[in-house]
């Protein structure tokens, strides 16, 4: 199955700054997703990254705060903008596997905002 990598694996950032997280898959995939997992919580879908068009955001998430790029079928970025301590979370990218509908996750980015 495809291998997915994500970087950085962790970061500590100051309030008001922005961080861009990169996600790379070693084969072309149609659908890529970005999730957030706040401490002690389950996974919440932020948006679906669409190749060649704007991302589709879930309720409660907006493009100004979480701009997403998807320049091709193997790569996507998520930016967490103007960060506050409430943005401290694990951010995960994922893709739909070619074998059926299963979804696979990258290793995740642990973000701490001070």
């Amino acid at each position: 199955s495809a291998v997915i990598s994500q970087k950085p694996s962790r970061d500590i950032c100051q309030r008001g700054t922005s961080l861009t997280i990169q996600c790379q898959v070693d084969s072309q995939v149609t659908m890529m997703f970005w999730y957030r997992q706040q401490p002690g919580q389950s996974l919440t879908l932020i948006a679906t990254a669409n190749q060649g068009s704007e991302a589709t955001y879930e309720s409660g998430f907006v493009i100004d705060k979480f701009p997403i790029s998807r320049p091709n079928l193997t790569f996507s970025t998520l930016t967490v903008s103007n960060m506050s301590p409430e943005d401290s979370s694990i951010y995960l990218c994922s893709f739909r596997g070619t074998e059926g509908l299963a979804q696979y996750f990258g290793p995740g980015t642990r973000l701490l905002v001070l």
Partner: protein, 109 residues
């Protein structure tokens, strides 16, 4: 509103015990149900269950989908300390997945 609920929220057992984790769902257009194991950051895929594949087994882990009851169970037999993790259930509705709250399993030596 679509939702996925897992129970129990947490569970502590001893090595060798058998555990059953539950996942119930209410979604408009069910397509599949996934089980994951999360130890650190990234959830690891375990099983996918669909209308055409309602029972899966891998080693000591097995899972069954009950479409009539809108639920699934994940069984782990002869538990080991390495099974300690959060187990997540996710249900596909349209093109995206809705995740449950997770069950935190602790296996004591």
């Amino acid at each position: 509103e679509d939702k996925v609920v897992q129970s129990p929220l947490s569970l502590v057992v001893h090595e060798g015990d058998t555990v059953t984790l539950n996942c119930s769902y209410e979604v408009t257009n069910f397509r599949s149900l996934l089980w994951y194991k999360q130890e650190k950051k990234a959830p690891t895929f375990l099983f996918m269950l669909t209308s055409s594949g309602i029972e899966k087994k891998s080693g000591r882990l097995s899972s069954i989908l009950d479409k009539k009851e809108l639920s699934s169970i994940l069984n782990i037999t002869a538990t080991q300390t390495g099974d300690s993790a959060i187990y997540l259930c996710a249900v596909e509705e349209s093109y995206k997945y809705i995740f449950g709250t997770g069950t935190r399993l602790k296996v004591l030596a």
